[in-house]
């Protein structure tokens, strides 16, 4: 049994960490996250050169990684550096492209030349693909889309969108060019920095990716990998929050002594540290079980999301509370880590959603075993 990342992954982690520490110190990040589209395509390009995007994908489809632990490394560093950008969307879109053998598109994503985002959620889907209503209609050998997607990551600055839509044959995936006719994008910033957009399609031409009607299992697997990514990002954010809070407790004095000497705070910090270690284990489990049966994979992914949802709320709220007034300020990096952590809870389904899903999958598992 071995819980180390291994030499290659550790090298990748180190190089990303060095790059982010040098090129994207927190002041730069904060500015980038809340100006314009909320991210820097320049940094994205440099990270692509360092292999951060390619690490998300299998060698078989042109990447140079693709194991869930590779994904873990990249998103851990993103979390540590609180980096904005279409990372999660690229991961999910890329998985779909890879599964469909669209290696050209994937190559452009990997080398940073094309930003491809991922559009699945609609206003009423609540992370249930069965509720997707965006229509895909075949017109001869062409397809057009009609419908609307919401909170599509970086919709305004992506070159293409990987869209999940419902064809007669069932759920299918499509590529849409950013300047496709009939498409509107309304862009906005996000609470934790970065941007997203609401997108509408009206007879918008689209290119089919994969076979019509076969997208269900592919997008489920892509989401499970997305959950692995978010879990590792969240744990890295929690690590940062814990360390920042410990630093504060050690240095901030009240009544003449460091507030870290107050036992009530010490015991709460011990609980927070414990929750973070449990969350780390959940993230490890989710990555480990990704290579397993569908039910194992999905159960571990939902367990991880439920775990980081609960631990994340605690860590964010406790970090702010223990910082006191200063923890309420925009100035402090800590408060932005806290915001990111809480907002991760709103991506790909929240704590309650995944707890319910874990229970449901448990029943499936029992029926399968019975």
């Amino acid at each position: 049994m071995d819980f180390s990342l291994g030499e290659d992954r550790q090298m990748l982690a180190d190089s990303l960490r060095r790059f982010l520490a040098d090129k994207v110190p927190f002041s730069v990040r904060k500015t980038a996250a809340f100006e314009g589209a909320g991210w820097s395509r320049d940094i994205w390009g440099q990270l692509a050169e360092l292999g951060a995007i390619g690490a998300l994908f299998d060698e078989g489809v042109g990447g140079f990684g693709g194991s869930p632990f590779d994904v873990a490394v990249v998103f851990g560093e993103i979390g540590r550096g609180l980096l904005t950008g279409p990372w999660l969307a690229a991961l999910q879109a890329g998985q779909v492209l890879g599964a469909a053998g669209r290696t050209d598109d994937l190559a452009a994503l990997i080398d940073g030349t094309a930003v491809i985002t991922y559009a699945e959620e609609e206003a009423d889907t609540w992370f249930d693909p069965a509720a997707i209503t965006t229509r895909a209609t075949a017109q001869g050998d062409r397809w057009v889309l009609d419908g609307a997607k919401t909170v599509v990551a970086y919709a305004g600055s992506a070159d293409r969108l990987l869209v999940v839509a419902r064809a007669d044959a069932g759920l299918s995936t499509f590529l849409v060019e950013r300047d496709a006719p009939g498409m509107t994008v309304r862009d906005y910033l996000l609470v934790d920095g970065g941007s997203a957009g609401d997108v509408t399609f009206a007879a918008t031409p689209a290119t089919l990716v994969g076979e019509p009607g076969h997208a269900g299992p592919v997008i489920e697997a892509a989401r499970a990998l997305g959950l692995v990514a978010l879990a590792w990002e969240a744990v890295a954010v929690m690590d940062a929050l814990r360390d920042q809070t410990l630093d504060y407790l050690r240095t901030r004095k009240q009544f003449g002594i460091p507030i870290g000497k107050f036992q009530a705070l010490q015991h709460r910090m011990a609980t927070m540290a414990l929750e973070i270690e449990q969350a780390r284990s959940a993230a490890i489990n989710a990555a480990d079980r990704y290579i397993g049966t569908r039910v194992e994979r999905e159960r571990a992914a939902s367990a991880a999301k439920a775990t980081i949802g609960k631990a994340g709320s605690l860590a964010a709220e406790e970090a702010i509370q223990m910082h006191g007034g200063i923890g309420m300020t925009w100035e402090l990096a800590m408060s932005h880590y806290a915001k990111r952590l809480v907002m991760i809870g709103h991506e790909l389904g929240d704590e309650d959603h995944h707890l319910a899903r874990y229970i449901e999958l448990g029943h499936e598992l029992e029926q399968a075993e019975a």
Binding site: E121, A123, D124, W126, F127, D128, A131, T150, V151, R186, Y188, L189, L190, V191, D192, A196, D198, K253, Q254, F255, G256, A264, L265, S313, E317, I320, Q321, G324, G325, G327, M328, T329, W330, E331, L332, S335, H336, A338, K339, V342, M343, H346, E347, D350, D352, L355, A356
Partner: protein, 398 residues
């Protein structure tokens, strides 16, 4: 045991309701309901409406423009105004410096400053916290040195709420470094227009601008602006901190917010059914509602025990802790109810007059900023840790 209002209290409640239905501008309550920011003028407008009715400083003595209301009347008033999303009365003048002047101010100070609070001539802010002195207030360093008939003030205050609008500050300053730290503190009234004062905004994590830093460089304050005696300011400061806590649990505001939440849970659909029928969300909602129902009664018990005198009680620390926890839980469920639509951040939409299209349901727009902004509730005004210390000493006697 009798949990009903007396006929007189019922009549009073009706009177308040009638007043609110007639005098509360929908323009203001709409903004409150939508969690939009009030402008300075709008806050002053509501103060003026209350003052016209004689209800602004409802806990002051009648001879100074107060109402003579009982504790229960004040509770009813606070609850009813919150339930219809009226703006809150800002505490700095009416509930903070007002009571201090009433108890410790000279006759001249009362005559000069109290009427100006009522008629809106002055907007007060509170100069207590300093960068190194939060919960440990007595360690404050801002100094005031006597120079003829002035004090010369140097130092810095922080977390000064709405100082950007204030023309006056009541301010704790150090006038002596001898003896115990508490014994060298004085209580000064400072005109914010005095040369040497600089107000710098502090941006909160939610993006809101509510609090400020205030810097003092050789600021000259007339000696007649000293309240009470020199070096006795700690006594007045403590009085202010424990005074006027009938509304500390914010039950009315939480009831109003919970009502909104419940409506949302009934209408917002998730997985094909209303959120209120999702087992886990329904359980969260029910636990919260029960906690709030319990809190209402706990609050009333404390008020009735306090009686007509409105004596500050250590029990109000319990109200503060659980009251803020309840409010933060409401905020938390609001954000959870919004799902993915808790993520967009459109600061313009928090201002009046915004005509944009909301992303997702309209109520979802401010849920995250509200959630983050309200983390302050358990920090400012005596953190919940400080409240636990008070309970430990005063109630548990540990």
């Amino acid at each position: 045991m009798d949990l009903t209002f007396t006929p007189e209290e019922e009549a009073f409640r009706d009177e308040v309701r009638t007043f609110l239905s007639q005098k509360l501008p929908a323009r203001l309550s709409d903004k409150i309901r939508k969690s939009q920011h009030l402008t300075k003028a709008e806050m002053e407008e509501w103060h003026a409406i209350l003052n016209a009715r004689g209800w602004l400083a409802n806990h002051w003595p009648v001879e100074w423009g107060g109402t003579g209301w009982s504790v229960m009347q004040r509770f009813i008033f606070e609850t009813e105004t919150a339930l219809v999303h009226a703006p809150r009365v800002l505490p700095f003048g009416v509930s903070m410096i007002g009571p201090v002047l009433l108890k410790y101010g000279s006759e001249a100070q009362k005559r000069r400053w109290l009427p100006r609070i009522l008629d809106g001539s002055d907007w007060w802010c509170q100069g207590y916290s300093e960068p190194g002195a939060g919960s440990d207030l007595a360690s404050l360093k801002t100094s005031a040195v006597r120079d003829g008939d002035h004090y010369v003030v140097n130092g810095q205050k922080t977390w000064t709420t709405l100082a950007q609008y204030a023309n006056m500050m009541f301010c704790l300053v150090r006038t002596s470094t001898e003896g115990k730290r508490q014994e060298g503190i004085s209580f000064l009234l400072i005109d914010m227009a005095t040369p040497g004062i600089e107000v710098r905004p502090i941006k909160l994590l939610s993006g809101d601008h509510e609090v400020n830093e205030v810097f003092f460089t050789d600021v000259r304050v007339p000696v007649e602006n000293l309240v009470g005696e020199e070096n006795k300011g700690w006594t007045y400061a403590k009085y202010l901190l424990t005074y006027e806590r009938t509304n500390i649990a914010g039950v009315g505001a939480s009831m109003a917010a919970f009502g909104e939440l419940k409506d949302i849970a009934r209408t917002q659909r998730r997985n094909g059914r209303p959120l209120s029928e999702d087992p886990q969300f329904a359980a969260r909602l029910a636990r919260l509602e029960i906690e709030l129902e319990n809190m209402k009664t706990t609050n009333l018990r404390v008020l009735v025990a306090a009686g007509a005198v409105a004596a500050p009680t250590a029990e109000s620390s319990m109200l503060k802790i659980r009251g803020t926890e309840i409010r933060q839980t409401i905020d938390d469920l609001m954000r959870r109810a919004a799902g993915t639509h808790a993520r967009p951040w459109i600061p313009e939409s928090f201002e009046g007059g915004w005509n944009g299209e909301p992303v997702g349901p309209e109520w979802a727009g401010p849920v995250s900023t509200h959630y983050f902004n309200d983390r302050k509730l358990s920090i400012f005004g005596g953190s919940n840790e400080v409240q636990r210390e008070i309970i430990t000493k005063a109630i548990l006697e540990l």
